[in-house]
């Protein structure tokens, strides 16, 4: 689904991610959480693996933080030391992956300008914000936490694992997903259309928006040429520029660009600029994607779409429709979903896929859209997103079909630890709501005229 030259990077980074996961666990202060390499087997469950056909009566075996085996009950050998759980009547699916979330009371770039790639969202996340627990109640295990869409480039995103088993994390460091060098993995948030337009120094038109972005990437290209020419010779190195070096990472495919875009012409503009600078882009929201499905398919860029109960709220989302997922999928576009939490509630993430199925999207593709497709869009598909031996033991145990309104997430497991249990009253609070389950503050989504405040007087 990505151009071949990018696949190479993908696989390598994902291999690194797997290795690092193990290193990570050893180095974390929550080491005690991982010391017992218990083997657990769930038997007789209906299992959505996301990368192979759904298993009617299956077994899932995990040891420590990883999956050991998954398959039909009669094919999977359960180790004698395993703790066996009968999951008859229940469903198991990979932990849900949200490619676009604003939980954690976050904010990155401020109102000083439209292009701030050096700003990191990881410096703003409150891990005690209830949104994380609510996400677990929805079966989510991995989030791409993003700054808002009020800038052309609003900063660096960060990929997090919801390692909330037990008392939960004390710092953001405990939930980061890291690369081989221990560096947190994340993407770059960009936007076009009306959200990122505004009073100067923000652009006032689409043409100016594209110009400012091109100008900046050309600067970054020149900066990188100087860095390369200096060949690590300190006196020839240009002064370090945190903004430009982030853009260089994006042009080298090391940092995936997560691009907010709604209107059909804006979508095509993203593709045009991405191709000019060799960016590896995930198209986000894509309200009018169904109008340019072929163009998107030709670009091979995947779409992470939002599903809302009605169109509108702003001009560029007036033609949003439940059929978007079906049309894009049938055109050959890789389709994932996202919550945009708090725009939609993480606890109801599976509902987005169900509404796409309501409008005719293939069921298996819709389920992948909650899991494997999202993992691919973060470049983490070798580690998460499907149930297969060697992958992280991230999964949700459900009372029934994930696409039914009546189904409840019973348990959510992250790296072999139960991080959510509906039977636990503390966790149930986050699943149902009530005092303490919500947040008094809305996320900080600088800098466009925040439409949800239009109805308020102050």
């Amino acid at each position: 689904m990505y151009p071949a030259n990018r696949r190479t990077f993908l696989s390598r980074s994902a291999r690194i991610a797997i290795g690092i996961g193990l290193v990570d666990r050893g180095s974390l202060s929550t080491a005690e959480a991982y010391e017992a390499e218990e083997t657990i087997a769930w038997k007789n469950a209906k299992i959505v693996t996301a990368n192979s056909p759904t298993i009617e009566a299956g077994s899932l075996v995990i040891r420590g933080a990883s999956i050991v085996d998954v398959g039909p009950v009669d094919k999977v050998v359960v180790p004698p030391n395993a703790r066996v759980v009968d999951a008859a009547g229940k469903w198991i699916m990979p932990g849900l992956v949200c490619t676009h979330s604003h939980v954690g009371g976050v904010g990155a770039a401020d109102g000083s300008g439209p292009i701030q790639p050096g700003v990191r969202i990881l410096d703003s996340i409150n891990v005690r914000e209830p949104g994380f627990r609510r996400a677990l109640a929805g079966g989510l295990t991995t989030l791409n936490i993003m700054p808002g869409s009020g800038h052309l480039i609003s900063g660096q995103t960060v990929y997090c694992k919801l390692r909330y088993a037990g008392k939960g994390p004390s710092t953001i460091e405990e939930i980061l997903i890291r690369d081989n060098d221990g560096k947190p993995i994340g993407g770059l948030k960009m936007a076009n259309g009306t959200n990122s337009q505004g009073e100067s120094p923000f652009p006032g038109t689409r043409g100016k928006s594209a110009f400012l972005v091109r100008e900046q990437y050309i600067k970054a290209r020149e900066y990188n040429a100087k860095v390369t020419a200096a060949k690590d010779t300190t006196d020839k190195m240009p002064p370090r520029d945190l903004h430009l070096e982030t853009l260089v990472e994006a042009m080298q495919g090391k940092r995936i660009v997560h691009h907010h875009t709604h209107r059909h012409d804006d979508i095509v503009t993203v593709i045009r600029l991405a191709q000019e600078f060799g960016l590896r882009v995930v198209l986000h929201h894509v309200s009018e994607g169904w109008k340019v499905a072929k163009e998107i398919a030709d670009s091979k860029f995947p779409c992470s779409i939002i599903v809302l109960d009605s169109p509108g709220g702003k001009l560029e989302a007036k033609d949003m429709t439940f059929k978007n997922g079906r049309v894009l999928d049938e055109a050959g576009v890789r389709v994932g979903f996202h919550t945009d939490d708090w725009i939609t509630d993480s606890r109801l993430f599976a509902r987005s896929a169900a509404l796409a199925v309501r409008a005719g999207m293939n069921r298996d593709k819709a389920l992948q859209g909650l899991t494997l497709a999202g993992a691919e869009m973060l470049g983490l598909e070798d580690r998460i997103g499907s149930l297969a031996p060697g992958k992280d033991a991230d999964f949700a145990l459900l009372s029934g079909d994930p696409l039914s309104v009546y189904t409840r997430v019973l348990e959510t497991w992250v790296e072999g630890k139960k991080a959510f249990d509906l039977a636990n009253p503390n966790d149930q609070l986050y699943a149902e709501g009530g005092a303490g389950a919500g947040s008094e503050l809305n996320p900080f989504l600088c800098c466009f005229a925040q439409p949800w405040q239009l109805g308020e007087t102050n």
Binding site: G312, E432, S439, Q450, E456
Partner: protein, 428 residues
């Protein structure tokens, strides 16, 4: 029960998706594997006959003679047309720009005289959008956000003019307590206490106005019939000047209009109940996110709750809302209905069908959830003689589905309003 229905619906839906061009005076027959009447027992393999916009017959299809020339619609499940007990759709438009946003006038905090019928746009796209999921009646009007923002209407989701579709004019006036109707700087109200001081002062003004006008009317009333509209009266030379603002509040005091009070925090709910008790009026608690912490008080006060959408965001004054609040209200016998509500951003119009479905997954039974968006809102709004259930003599307002109406993947395949057939949700 529904499972088998779903299996058989694929073939049926082909027939139902044909173009709908029927007129309100057509004869329409709806055949369904299951009719959920809400007021009575469900009917398996049932039929509903609609003539001249009314339901004239309901029963088992086997004992049913289909009149010649009737328009026939088939569905897996049929329920009464849905009623949104509190929305701003038609005043608050899809584009969310100044041009189509008439739900809130911020020039003054107290404007009960603003009529919804002067602001409602029956041609708003979102009206047709929510209708396509089965919503046939809405209680719509001014939004939360000012201490008193204006009035509401009850209307069907069809028609080219508000007059054509209106059921009740000026059904309620809308008040908002808490932060969202507070002003900053030197403007009032800036605090909760000031909000109530302003509201109480206005109510006492209205009481005095009523006393004066009643006295004056009594002096000159012998020649005038009692039920004549006040607009028709010829003012006497010494008549008290009409005050539209106070006149509206007098109607609230007299129980002719409801007072809808948006209050999410428990303390604001308590204040709303205190206010109702002081002036001897019954109120509709609107949104009421923290009703889940105020069940005994609401029950004791015999208040009615127009509950926030199940999927409203758990932030700001609604941070403590719960998916289970509907179930708590149901179990405690508190009259309530689930609303689509007002959204300042997205989704610009919420669909009550979806909101009730979430409540059904969190404690309400399927039947209770359907009742909370059909007969319960009809009773609250005082229109249960016309809509809210499938009964002979009631308006022919029906919602047709290809399976369990509350299930995520079920589709609305047709809607009947006043005996006329409209399309269900988009299928292309």
């Amino acid at each position: 029960m529904y499972r088998t229905l779903v299996l058989s619906c694929a073939a049926l839906s082909m027939a139902i998706l044909s173009a709908s061009q029927s007129r309100g005076d057509d004869v329409v027959v709806v055949l369904a594997k299951m009719i959920i009447t809400v007021s009575g027992k469900p009917i398996e393999n049932g039929a509903i006959l609609c003539k001249a916009g009314k339901i004239v017959s309901v029963g088992e299809s086997s004992s049913f003679t289909i009149p010649a020339g009737a328009i026939i619609k088939e569905a897996s499940v049929v329920i009464p047309g849905l009623i949104d007990v509190r929305t701003c759709v038609g005043l608050s438009g899809i584009f969310n720009v100044e041009h189509d946003s008439d739900q809130l006038e911020s020039s003054s905090p107290l404007q009960p005289e603003l009529r919804a019928k002067d602001a409602y746009n029956p041609g708003e796209e979102l009206v047709a959008y929510i209708r396509s999921f089965g919503v046939t009646t809405i209680h719509t009007g001014h939004a939360p956000g000012e201490l008193i923002s204006g009035q509401t209407i009850v209307t069907k989701t069809v028609g080219n003019s508000v007059e054509e579709s209106l059921i009740v004019d000026g059904r309620a006036i809308c008040a908002t307590l808490g932060e969202s109707s507070q002003k900053s700087g030197k403007q009032s109200p800036g605090t909760r206490a000031k909000q109530m001081a302003m509201l109480r002062a206005l109510m006492f003004e209205a009481i005095e106005y009523r006393t004066k006008t009643t006295k004056k009317t009594k002096e000159t009333s012998d020649k005038e019939s009692e039920d004549k509209e006040s607009e028709d009266k010829e003012p006497a030379d010494d008549a008290i000047a009409r005050n539209l603002r106070l006149e509206t509040l007098v109607e609230v005091l007299d129980g002719k209009k409801a007072l809808l009070i948006t209050a999410d925090r428990a303390q604001d709910i308590a204040t709303a109940l205190r206010f109702a008790s002081e002036f001897g009026i019954s109120i509709w608690l609107d949104s009421a996110a923290e009703a889940n912490q105020m069940i005994p008080q609401i029950k004791e006060a015999k208040a009615t709750v127009l509950l926030h959408p199940s999927m409203a965001r758990s932030s700001g004054e609604r941070e403590s809302l719960s998916f289970q609040t509907a179930s708590m209200l149901q179990k405690n016998g508190i009259p309530f209905a689930i609303q689509g509500g007002f959204e300042a951003y997205v989704p610009k119009a919420r669909v009550v069908l979806f909101e009730a479905a979430i409540a059904a997954a969190h404690g309400l039974t399927r039947d209770e959830a359907i009742e909370s968006i059909t007969l319960s809102p009809a009773k609250i709004l005082g229109i249960a003689d016309r809509v809210g259930s499938i009964e002979i003599g009631k308006d022919a307002d029906l919602a047709l589905y290809d399976g369990d109406p509350l299930e995520y993947t079920t589709r609305c395949i047709g809607v009947v309003v006043n005996g006329k057939v409209y399309d269900g949700e988009a299928s292309d």
